[in-house]
Symmetry: C3
């Protein structure tokens, strides 16, 4: 299995570096140590000391970088050795460094050619920045499944009616017509449910909570595994701006061929100052993602074993159109990277 290289991966949440100043995390098969420089910038190095291969994440902060916990070699954010207690500092003592930056509360990582690591390629997730802390939350789930199974899960929201029948589901998404569109490398699936009762969490904000409403769910995928899900409702026939809306982020970052870092976040356009509501919502979503989605993705992976998805000849349905479009897009991008690599 090949992973995209010249692409931004979410490697973590910025606040993960509070509890764990040297965070060991494997991304696309590469063991990394994430940390903050003295200036507060995030940095990512190969988590393997060039001297004797101890994980640098078992070390400690050091003036200008981090020091190995085994024999004391220290490295800066660029991977250059900045301290050798046992002799001269030389270029041979350097360690691989990866472009890394913090944006939208997230740590972003680039595994490919560093000269191509353009921050402008990070999808615009500024809705996170605009949302007050009392109306947003985020989380993380280590998931023992191929990251593409995690993408499939979000790109086909009809699953909520079966996997979460008593919480997020209810049958509406199965009945809704989904429209798949592709634009500039993204894939979007939009579900529109007209003349329907809005979910209670949305409806309670309307003058008449029992009146028919327009309800929508729109999920947009950006390579490699960033998905923004907008879900909202408005009184029937009224513009969306008169309704309520929520923006949910689902990011599937491959750890290895069959394990995934599942990052998620939630924001909303209502009850912006209600921290207690926010906490309850976060707990509610975490319970669903960890209790329903993660076990199903892992069970699916177990049944697939070492097989690739297409080799098992899935009997695809109309609901799979978005997920299949993403899989084809990823295959194209990976093939393109490989052919470029051959030329170069």
């Amino acid at each position: 299995m090949s992973f995209l290289k010249n692409v931004w991966y979410q490697a973590g949440w910025g606040d993960e570096l509070e509890a764990t100043p040297l965070l060991a995390r494997t991304i696309a098969g590469i063991p990394l140590v994430l940390f903050r420089t003295e200036g507060g910038e995030v940095a990512a190095l190969l988590d393997r000391c060039p001297h004797r291969f101890a994980p640098l994440s078992r070390g400690r902060k050091h003036a200008g970088g981090i020091a190995c916990g085994y024999h004391g070699l220290a490295f800066n954010a660029a991977g250059a050795c900045i301290h050798n207690p046992h002799g001269p500092v030389s270029r041979a003592l350097s360690v691989s460094a990866y472009p890394c930056l913090e944006r939208h509360d997230m740590i972003w990582l680039w595994l490919g050619d560093s000269e191509r690591a353009d921050p402008a390629l990070i999808p615009d997730l500024s809705f996170i920045d605009r949302t007050p802390v009392t109306a947003k939350s985020h989380g993380y789930l280590a998931t023992a499944a191929d990251y593409r199974l995690g993408i499939d899960n979000i790109m086909d929201l009809s699953h909520v009616d079966y996997l979460h029948p008593n919480t997020l589901g209810g049958g509406a998404l199965t009945k809704a017509k989904a429209t798949v569109t592709q634009d500039g490398g993204t894939v979007q699936v939009a579900w529109r449910i007209d003349n329907h009762l809005a979910p209670p969490a949305f409806a309670e904000h309307f003058a008449d909570p029992g009146a028919p409403a327009d309800v929508w769910s729109i999920v947009k995928w950006h390579a490699p595994g960033v998905m923004v899900l907008e879900a909202g409702a408005a009184p029937m026939g009224r513009p969306r701006s008169e309704g309520v809306n929520s923006f949910n982020l689902h990011v599937m970052t491959p750890e290895t061929a069959r394990t995934t870092h599942y990052f998620f976040a939630n924001t909303r356009t209502f009850k912006l100052d209600d921290g207690a509501y926010n906490q309850g919502l976060q707990a509610f979503l975490c319970t669903i993602f960890s209790g329903d989605d993660k076990p199903m993705l892992e069970a699916q992976q177990q049944r697939m074993g070492e097989h690739e998805f297409w080799d098992l000849k899935p009997a695809l349905l109309s609901i799979d159109a978005g997920a299949v479009a993403v899989r084809r897009k990823l295959e194209d991008l990976i093939a393109k990277e490989k052919s470029h690599a051959r030329v170069a």
Copy 2:
């Protein structure tokens, strides 16, 4: 390693479907979901939805069959799709079904050609049906060892003198002469111990418990791994019908090449109404099988590692005659299935 296909395997106990209506169980490497139809019949499907490979065992009962818990496709006992919430029902949505039936409190499964799945091929275990519930019990042990090691264990009962010296053993079976006979595809080993004290559990039923007795143990194997063990005693020189007897079932069903579903049952011809005695006996046997046999079989497997039994050149003894006869018989049956498969 090859498994027999055209043969009935015990896949479970009927009552296992009470606590777990959709029971996931791998038999001979094939992941299955076992369940009851609305009519109460047992059924077995491949435990992998044809749509996206979620295990059907994570789903739920559905009118006329079971529904996948991920996207709601439903299948009947024949594996045909009977409900697709997302579009038309088509033949492409079917899942493999396996002949399955319930007999003698057991669930029986056929992995081979369904037209050859003749229930008459199931060994006659009607002693289970004839025994009142107060005089029978059964159990199950997941065992990390090749199922043929489990068969060896029962076909050579001399092990009780060493593995269970203070409970089932005592030295009699080592001293007894064992006779191996083969008949109609079965292999039988009979131990006859004449002029011996009967075990206390048997002797207490005699007019003079301290008088010499005739004691017997007879184990009969049916392919692939069904063994009936008759153990009893009668006052010396008297017909067996004047004594007491017990019938014990030991079934070794391969889960994978090196793991086994060990099913066992116990019945007797005395104290038929004594439910308390029955419960004590069941606990006693479970303790022995799980505390002595299972750990020994697993330790044996660990020492064999990935090697096949014959490749390690076992130093066989006279006591192995029955077990070796079964191994040869199994090898013949598997070779025959393979050569038939080649012709067909």
Copy 3:
């Protein structure tokens, strides 16, 4: 990966056979059972009954040897079958036996040609025998790392300044000049630190604990993985005999290619009768070895994965001279054994 065969391995501590009379231990990939004969001698047999491959370590003591717990075959210390309850005793029932002896509180094992198993080849560790029990202790750590990483760790003591900064370290060993010498198959690294304060545990024995001292650490390796570490201090300019000294044994015995039996012992030349001090020191060292060294060695192994050390191109430093000399020596010895095996 190849292991040396014609060499003495430490297989255990003699007192391990008190709690576990039949001790299962894999050495260099070979599963063994260690036990004492009725005469009290240690013995080592292949831990796999030749009959049906049950581990003999699951058996019991038997007059003149040990008996298999599955079917009762018994074997003496030479591996000959001495009891077969089921028929004649024959040569086919023998099991491999390995030269084994007890010296310096340790169980020593020879895996190669038994005629070459000369006890004189065991390194002289008689300092253990000469030390009273109130001034010595020993321990064992199962470690999931290549035994050569364990050797590297001891042959380069500069690691104490980084891995144990607040206990054994302090910076002195990094500053000291290390001298590597090879002699008769051994490799020795000596660190001499002149005109320095002795560590408190040593200094408190001097007339003036605050006066400058000569401090030394000398580690000597014997194939395959036996290392004696002498660490001591004397008042500056005075002979070593006027100072205090400690002798520490570190033995790395390969269990498999990537797991190690780490045996260690500690003796000293002061406070010889202080059992309470001894107990405290033992607990102190165990905490350091199990809390610092073992996790680092295992983390290092995890980062190396299935790769061999040299294939990863380590950036070696001057501090690695001793460890590299041992690795080269081991490679030479293994190559020699292989070429001899080809000739023979």
